[in-house]
């Protein structure tokens, strides 16, 4: 009788099962933004891990076996959806041997649900348009109002998976929304003097941010999504910036800055690196800090160009 627990422990070890399940809900997300939101809502009831780093292009993530390990232990997987992760996530989910996080189960949360998704194609699309997303622009978390929706989705799902924590999650969500409201007013005030400013961006990553803070994206350094800059298109962009007196060129941290730098040198526009995700810089530790950084960087650059 006494050896029974030891034997079962051995069997558990041999099968690679966790001998004692940790009490915290394991949340894995594709983007650090969702992990940060889950942490803000879940508090010490959750443990979070993000597959893509904040300074990495979220379209191109390697399906590393170490991610399979993370997913095999996950209780909840939060994804951006809209086919942003199509290049790496499906095989990871298949290999995770974790039915909980398969699409359709409570452990799979598509964060785009309920969010304002822009650029949903309304006419037939082909790949002659570049790497277009047939379900709409997947960079929707760059609008803090969508962040609010995502936080609510996460709170609802956490409450479903861990009913004992529902009151905590509701309290944390209310606190998050209270802080978000204060911050939104602050960000709006900072960018209000620059309403309607025309900007050029590298990739079409910022339609949601531009809409929320009233910026006008009039061109892209990429000739088409996913196609690197070409000399003729770069010339067109230089002319566009000169003609429209565009003060700033926004780029993501993972793009080669040579072409943007060249354009800036030719036109006098300023290159501003905006971070699309939490973790892009050490000081961008949570979702609100992401906009604190980006809004400040943008406002400072626009003010210096006045």
């Amino acid at each position: 009788m006494r050896s029974a627990p030891r034997i079962s422990l051995l069997i558990a070890l041999a099968l690679g099962l966790p001998a004692a399940g940790s009490a915290k809900l394991q949340v894995v997300s594709t983007l650090q933004d969702f992990a940060a939101l889950a942490q803000a809502i879940g508090g010490d009831r959750v443990e979070t891990f993000a597959l893509a780093k904040g300074y990495q292009d979220p379209h191109f993530v390697d399906a590393k076996p170490s991610f399979v390990l993370r997913l095999s232990r996950a209780d909840l997987l939060v994804v951006a959806g809209l086919e942003l992760e199509i290049g790496y996530l499906p095989p990871l989910i298949d290999q995770s041997r974790n039915q909980r996080i398969h699409p359709g189960n409570p452990g799979y949360l598509d964060a785009s649900a309920g969010c304002e998704i822009l650029q949903r194609p309304t006419t037939p699309i082909t790949r002659a348009m570049g790497d277009v997303h047939p379900y709409g622009n997947p960079h929707y978390w760059t609008d803090p109002e969508n962040g609010r929706t995502i936080a609510r989705s996460i709170a609802a799902r956490l409450s479903e998976l861990d009913p004992a924590g529902a009151a905590d999650f509701a309290r944390n969500l209310a606190e998050f929304e209270r802080r978000l409201d204060l911050k939104l007013a602050e960000w709006r005030a900072k960018l209000a003097p620059f309403a309607g400013t025309k900007v050029v961006t590298y990739h079409d990553s910022w339609p949601n941010l531009a809409k929320r803070f009233d910026l006008d994206v009039i061109g892209y350094i990429e000739p088409k999504p996913g196609i690197p800059p070409s000399p003729s298109h770069t010339l067109e962009i230089i002319n566009l910036i000169r003609r429209e007196k565009v003060p700033v060129v926004l780029i993501e941290p993972y793009f080669d800055s040579r072409t943007p730098d060249h354009i800036a040198q030719q036109t006098g526009a300023k290159v501003v690196t905006l971070y699309p995700s939490v973790g892009g810089r050490p000081e961008i530790g949570d979702y609100l800090a992401l906009f604190d950084y980006d809004v400040s960087a943008l406002a400072a650059a626009l003010a210096s160009q006045k």
């Binding site: 690679g16 590393k64 076996p65 399979v68 041997r97």
Partner: protein
């Protein structure tokens, strides 16, 4: 809605009860057994009962409200926001169609090679892929290859993703999980051709494919990923195994170890062992052993235009024949570098003895450049030299064009 229907349904009896209650001066309450029914009393009783029920419910709701108001902010249990309108309203009938992809592979060759005759130009393969979730328990993958010799199912299997105890099983025709390169489709290889030892020792350009069962399980060692795969196939595999009896099976096993060395670098080590009947005598078998090693470096911030991979495999084929054992050894080593967002360069060294005559050794090297106009097309040029055991040297330039129509699946790692 409930209240009127209740009243309507009970009206005759309620009226009777009300009359009884009035007549007897009884306390209000439904007493269906009371002899002369008083409808007025019964109606009053019913109204009183409903009033009491509502009062109780109201009290409960008020208590809950008070409790929620007393508790710090949390106004109510979080609820999910409404789902968005469907993205594409059209094509609803095709929702359950599999993802379909067509991958074309066109080759042109310059130079001469007496040992391996490729035509000067060839649409060598068009791979038609169908992939879909079958049901909550399984997923299906079918790849049909159309080539010069007609169409054949290259791979076709069902993956059972919901097995207990973290098992994953594939049933059908699969590329054997032997080494790293054999299980990868042509268009995912970093070169224009297959490395020499795989062609010489593992069933030719097509590789080792088996019809049967493949089961794998993860056995994590701390943060090291470790996966054991065991496969059992029927004893025939083109260019590799031949079974005299249908009960003669081929087996394969593979242990894969993977570890992140840093955020940018990782190391993968694989050990493989396989066996199957070779047909030279009814009992003769070929044993295969393999070692594969891959080191990758891909800085996350500049992954768009920088990256480096070193990989190599060592294979041994031990073939029993009536004239004695043939133990043949082969290896390749390759380095691949990403030069810019759309440009890659590679170099490969290779050497292999022949499976049926280990005294013959072929050697070679390859150098190449890959250009991807987009994620969906690829141009590649490979200069290849092979020095065959017959003292023949072949210098060739392989030019390759690959293109994807339709669904673009995930990249295998």
């Amino acid at each position: 809605m409930i209240v009127p229907s209740l009243l309507r349904r009970r009206r005759p009896r309620a009226a009777a009860a009300l009359a009884t209650a009035l007549a007897l001066g009884a306390p209000l309450g439904a007493q269906p057994s009371a002899p002369p029914p008083d409808p007025v009393a019964e109606l009053r009783a019913e109204i009183a009962q409903l009033r009491a029920e509502y009062a109780a419910q109201l009290a409960a709701l008020e208590a809950r409200l008070a409790a929620l108001e007393a508790a710090p902010p949390g106004p109510e249990a979080p609820t999910a926001p409404p789902a968005p309108a469907p993205a594409a309203s059209a094509q609803t009938s095709s929702y359950f169609n599999p993802a379909i992809s067509l991958i074309g592979n066109f080759f042109a060759v310059a130079g001469d090679n007496e040992n391996e005759s490729r035509p000067i130009a060839e649409l060598s393969e068009v791979e038609l892929g169908f992939q879909a979730v079958i049901d909550p328990y399984a997923k299906g993958d079918i790849f049909v290859a159309f080539g010069e010799e007609g169409a054949e199912v290259e791979e076709g299997y069902v993956t059972f993703t919901a097995l207990p105890a973290q098992f994953l099983a594939r049933v059908g025709r699969v590329l054997a999980t032997f080494g790293k390169t054999n299980s990868q489709h042509m268009h995912y290889l970093p070169w224009a051709d297959k490395p020499l030892p795989l062609v010489s020792l593992l069933g030719g350009e097509e590789g080792w494919r088996g019809d049967g069962l493949s089961v794998s399980r993860i056995f994590p060692i701390g943060e090291t990923f470790s996966e054991l795969t065991v496969e059992a196939f029927r004893g025939d595999a083109e260019g590799l195994f031949e079974a005299a009896d249908r009960n003669d099976l081929a087996y394969n096993s593979h242990l894969k170890l993977f570890r992140d060395l840093s955020e940018a670098a990782n190391l993968e080590l694989g050990l493989s062992w396989g066996t199957g009947p070779n047909g030279s005598t009814p009992d003769a078998r070929t044993d295969l052993a393999g070692l594969d090693l891959t080191w990758r470096w891909k800085p996350l911030r500049t992954a768009h235009h920088r990256g480096f991979t070193l990989r190599g495999e060592l294979l041994q084929s031990d073939r029993e024949t009536p004239d004695g054992d043939q133990r043949a050894l082969g290896w390749f080593a390759s380095a691949e570098a990403r030069l810019a967002r759309r440009w890659w360069a590679f170099g490969r060294l290779e050497s292999s003895e022949r499976a049926d005559d280990a005294s013959l050794r072929d050697e070679g090297f390859a150098l190449g450049l890959t250009f991807d106009p987009s994620e969906f097309s690829r141009l590649r040029a490979e200069y290849r030299q092979r020095r065959y055991a017959e003292d023949v040297t072949a210098d060739e330039l392989l030019m390759q064009l690959q293109f994807i129509l339709g669904a673009h699946g995930a990249h295998p790692f």
